[in-house]
């Protein structure tokens, strides 16, 4: 849930945008991280552990801990706690460890 009234802070969230979480449309603001927007939408489990499939959510929210890896626009292992929302972005729960795509040059 987003905070609308705060004694100290005044949140300027910017433009509202729509992105996709596992194919479903979710609303967020361009100033927010994907993790924050998903949290506001009630999504807590962002990934699952590889061996036991245990759910994983945000832990550090500053890009330290790797608990929030997701696939964003096809790119695996994106730390969504430090990735800003963009309109049309496709955010998916990652299956497996992800494969790095190399560009030929």
């Amino acid at each position: 849930m987003r905070i609308t009234e705060h004694p100290v802070l005044d949140f300027r969230r910017g433009e509202k945008v729509t992105f996709f979480y596992n194919g479903k449309a979710v609303e967020g603001y361009e100033s927010e991280t994907v993790a924050a927007a998903l949290h506001a939408a009630g999504v807590r489990a962002l990934s699952h552990s590889h061996e036991l499939g245990r759910p994983r959510g945000i832990f550090c929210a500053i890009g330290n801990c790797s608990s929030c890896f997701m696939t964003v626009d096809g790119e695996p292992n994106v730390r969504v706690c430090v990735t800003k929302v963009r309109g049309g972005m496709r955010v998916e729960e990652q299956q497996g460890r992800g494969v790095i795509q190399y560009e030929e040059n």
Partner: protein, 363 residues
């Protein structure tokens, strides 16, 4: 290859002050910050700072961060790269970074490592469930993004961070079920503790969290009293209804780059982990590499700012910039640090620094 005189790694209070100080003596600085906005943890600290006027006491952390950043941004000597993660420092002094989605090499004559700290974790059943958060994450969600982290939180740790974040949670409209603390005493300032007690939040000392439970997310936590050897006392378990467990159990220096650069390191309990051995000007055992702020020992933002200034002056002076002016400023910063460390919390830091001195450092 990007060339600069001084590379500052990390744009928190220490890094911003280091950049500003080095530039004030005439040095050219490149500041690399991995986040999109510099400011470090100041960007989420809505509380007012203590200390003296020199460290901006009475201002809120967010205001201090904004002020330091404006100074840095308006300084033609300082270039800021945001969204830039420094990855390594090599034998030849070259640093590498991820910048704009590409690999960047940085050739700097001096490097100031101001990478800050990471949160400590706590072993208990279900500590990997979504809803178990570091205190910094809770602050980020509610104070940066304006999103309520939960409806009802169990706070683990009654140091200053645990107490302050509890109060901030209530300001954000979140209920705090209790603050628990393993030690027999509240670690943080009494003024913070009183504030949340007045709002009806119990602070249970000598209590620990045994587990977090729920279906795919935290729905309750179990706590228990601990004895003088920190072992749970059977029969004292109680369940707390909550949808988040917030861990405020301390920080540990983020020293990967110091290790990788080959700085001599030591485990100093009073400084909360492994730290680089530094001299009185905060230079590590690797010539030309300095460490300032939490990376050289966990303390408060106020001392991180002064350490940043000291390292900035020292690095600039070592390159021949205004050495006489620098000497006076270095001495003033050293005295300011002593003053900041004159209280009871400072005694612990000074004991840690004495241990650093025994290992060949001299600050």
């Amino acid at each position: 290859m990007k060339k600069t005189e001084i590379l500052v790694i990390g744009g928190g209070p220490a890094g911003l002050c280091a950049a500003n100080a080095a530039s004030s003596l005439g040095a050219k600085v490149l500041l690399c910050e991995r986040d999109g906005v510099p400011g470090g943890q100041l960007v989420k600290q809505t509380h007012k700072f203590f200390g003296s006027e020199k460290q901006y006491a009475g201002d809120r952390g967010i205001q201090i961060g904004q002020m330091l950043l404006e100074q840095t941004q308006s300084d033609p000597n300082i270039e800021i790269y945001t969204d830039t993660t420094v990855l390594g420092i090599y034998e030849d002094g070259i640093a590498t970074a991820e910048h704009d989605g590409a690999h960047l090499k940085i050739d700097a004559e001096r490097i100031i490592v101001a990478t800050g700290a990471a949160e400590k974790f706590l072993p208990f059943e279900g500590n990997d469930l979504p809803g178990v958060y570091g205190a910094g994450a809770v602050q980020t969600l509610m104070n940066v993004s304006g999103v309520r982290p939960a409806q009802r939180v169990l706070m683990v740790g009654a140091g200053n961070i645990g107490l302050i974040v509890s109060y901030q949670l209530m300001q954000a409209g979140v209920e705090v079920a209790a603050v628990i603390e393993g030690a027999p005493n509240i670690g943080g300032y009494l003024v913070h503790a009183s504030k949340i007690r007045r709002l009806g939040v119990p602070i249970l000392t000598q209590h620990t969290v045994l587990g977090a439970y729920g279906d795919g997310r935290v729905q309750r936590a179990r706590i228990a009293q601990v004895d003088s050897s920190w072992q749970p006392v059977p029969g004292t378990e109680q369940d707390i209804e909550c949808d988040a467990v917030c861990l405020a159990v301390g920080l540990t220096p983020l020293t990967e780059l110091c290790w990788q650069a080959g700085c001599e390191m030591a485990y100093i309990r009073e400084l909360s982990g492994h730290v680089p051995i530094v001299n009185e000007f905060l230079e590590t055992t690797c010539s030309g590499i300095y460490a300032a702020g939490d990376v050289s020992g966990i303390e408060e933002a106020s001392s991180a700012m002064v350490e940043g200034r000291l390292a900035g002056y020292s690095a600039a002076a070592s390159l021949g910039h205004a050495p006489e002016k620098a000497a006076a400023l270095q001495r003033a910063a050293q005295e300011e640090l002593l003053e900041l460390r004159s209280g009871p919390a400072g005694a612990r830091i000074l004991a840690g620094i004495a241990k650093v001195a025994e290992k060949g450092g001299r600050r």
